[in-house]
């Protein structure tokens, strides 16, 4: 059964009147609406949902890269108050379910300030252990810093890897295969990826 997002928003507003929560409408046929939570309130709201509303299963966390903030606003439409961000950002989408009340998904979103410097989102591991590997994966592939995560390391890529491959502006390197005599197009692509090569 789909969780009634509006009703849950009302319950959050009653219990936590000072929390920043915005309803985002999904224009598609799925009509899975979501709640955008301010980063400072994320742990409080998630804790309230777990304790008071029995959303005990944090099933999935998706990382999303939005270099163009307008695109995000077309897919998750702001209702009423709250100004959408102008600059691009990174986002996490949480899918919560309740095993006892058998409802879900309740969708939460959290956003970073930008894509380069302020890429912090509070970690939910202290509330939901299921976030541990998924947050590591999002850190690895998107570069979101989860503050408070006990063991934030790369998980799928190797430790020495630089960059975050799921970002939209990621350029695949050309050195993943041995190239005995790199030339022409290959060299050109490599220069784009490693600007320092020009000097050599």
């Amino acid at each position: 059964m789909i969780a009634e997002t509006e009703a849950i928003l009302g319950e959050i507003r009653t219990a936590l009147p000072d929390a920043t929560v915005t309803l985002l409408k999904n224009p598609g046929p799925a009509a899975q609406h979501s709640l955008l939570i301010g980063n400072d309130d994320l742990l409080r709201v998630a804790g309230f949902l777990r304790e008071a509303l029995a959303f005990d299963l944090l099933s999935n966390i998706t990382g999303v890269d939005w270099p163009d903030a307008k695109k995000a606003d077309a897919i998750a439409i702001h209702e009423g108050e709250g100004m959408p961000s102008e600059i691009g950002y990174l986002e996490t989408v949480y899918h919560l379910f309740s095993t006892t009340r058998r409802i879900g998904p309740l969708i939460l979103r959290a956003r970073t300030t930008d894509r380069d410097q302020q890429v912090q989102i509070p970690s939910l591991v202290s509330l939901f252990r299921s976030a541990e590997f998924q947050e590591r994966e999002i850190f690895d592939l998107y570069g979101i810093q989860f503050t408070g995560h006990p063991d934030l390391r790369r998980i799928l890529m190797w430790d020495e890897f630089v960059d975050h491959p799921m970002r939209k502006d990621y350029v695949a390197p050309d050195d993943y295969e041995y190239e005995p005599t790199p030339h022409d197009a290959v060299l050109e692509k490599a220069r784009k990826h490693y600007p320092s090569l020009k000097d050599e």
Binding site: G28, L57, G104, S130, F133, L156
Partner: protein, 384 residues
């Protein structure tokens, strides 16, 4: 004493006066009991596990990034390669996510075909699991041979239907790729009738087996609340007695029409996890029997569906099914073009590993192998 290379993560347990008494073992990635290229950095005090850190990524090919660069339908054959034991379940989960995203209706016959194929896949997965877990206990070969003998009969059915034993690429948005060939349902019916006796035989060998009891009972159990909090789903969770099966809790397809029960375990140890899968196979047989008896005529795919230049409307959707290994979900975000803007797989195997360390702490190294086997992972899905 093996000294670890500097790149190993240092667990806090290693700091202290007894640190030089501990043994660090790198278990895997090339080892039959890790079920693929999977590694665990284990720290041992004698035989006892004091720290265990899984290392992933040996099979990582960034499935999600590849899917963002191709059309929606082009990802369908790639979903076969996630959990390659159960391609048809993966197909269904992905197709249902796209159907939710675009609001596509599925004809009745196609729904029945999907249920039949998904339950056959569950039989394959759980049967193969029995072979693998006995291999982990040292009965290498015999159990797997009997399991694979039965699996092969189901794969023959898949080959008749889809043209491929494993990489089926069979579901389409709004139905299936082709109709059942003549005589397929009858062959399937015979298989369903013959499967019960095979399960009886297999169960007779295993239930009271001394080695199985000694190795599996009271190994690897955790409290229910911890399991739910750790995102564990599927047979792993139900073995601990949590009544949560998506086919009942959040019904998809036409599962509401069938009468079947959800087997629940008691303790949640490795023995319960094995027995739960036996009971689930028997329930699958019940569903298969009902579905084959009720199978209606009609379209096997929604005739209105457009294959070329398929563009779902702007929006997002999360859909999930009860895969043989747990909750298999797909989260898709569409920006109205032919490619998904974001394509996310929620892999049950990967998330079921979250609590691996908690299950293993304080046990012997040999128990780690059984616990890992009882989680039932496939690395194609873990590493994506």
């Amino acid at each position: 004493m093996v000294s670890a290379p500097s790149t190993y993560s240092s667990a806090p347990i290693l700091e202290g006066s007894d640190a030089d008494q501990l043994l660090r073992v790198s278990l895997g990635p090339q080892h039959p009991s890790t079920h693929g290229v999977f590694r665990m950095n284990v720290v041992l005090d004698g035989e006892t596990v004091v720290s265990l850190k899984p290392v992933f990524g040996y099979l990582h090919r960034n499935h999600e990034k590849i899917a963002e660069g191709v059309t929606y339908l082009s990802s369908m054959p790639y979903t076969d390669r996630l959990d390659y034991i159960c391609p048809l379940s993966n197909n269904w989960a992905y197709a249902s996510a796209v159907e939710k995203l675009a609001g596509i209706e599925v004809p009745e016959r196609a729904e029945y075909m999907r249920v039949i194929l998904a339950e056959l896949t569950r039989l394959i997965n759980h049967t193969a699991f029995m072979g693998f877990i006995l291999g982990d206990m040292g009965a290498w070969g015999s159990a797997l041979m009997y399991a694979f003998r039965e699996r092969e009969l189901i794969l023959d059915l898949f080959e008749d239907l889809t043209g491929a034993r494993m990489m089926a690429n069979f579901m389409r948005f709004g139905g299936c790729r082709n109709d059942l060939p003549a005589g397929w349902a009858e062959k399937c019916s015979v298989l369903v009738d013959d499967y019960g006796p095979f399960l009886d035989e297999m169960e007779k060998f295993l239930v009271g087996n001394e080695i199985l009891l000694a190795r599996c009972q009271d190994v690897g159990q955790l409290p229910k609340e911890t399991l739910i909090n750790g995102g564990i789903t599927g047979p792993m969770l139900r073995a601990a007695g949590v009544n949560y099966d998506i086919r009942k809790a959040d019904p998809y397809g036409i599962y509401e029409r069938f009468s079947f029960r959800i087997p629940l375990g008691d303790k949640g140890d490795c023995y319960d996890r094995i027995m739960i899968r036996f009971l689930e196979m028997r329930e699958s047989l019940k569903i298969l029997r009902q579905a084959l008896d009720q199978l209606p005529d009609g379209d096997y795919v929604n005739p209105k569906i457009k294959i070329r230049n398929f563009k779902p409307p702007v929006g997002e959707a999360y859909a999930r099914i009860e895969g043989p290994k747990g909750e298999l979900g797909f989260h898709l975000i569409s920006d109205g073009t032919v490619n998904p803007y974001r394509y996310r797989v929620r892999p049950p195997s990967f998330i079921n590993l979250t609590l691996l360390e908690d299950m293993c702490l304080g046990l012997d190294l040999a128990d780690v192998v059984i616990i890992l086997g009882s989680i039932d992972i496939v690395l194609g899905e873990v590493d994506r």
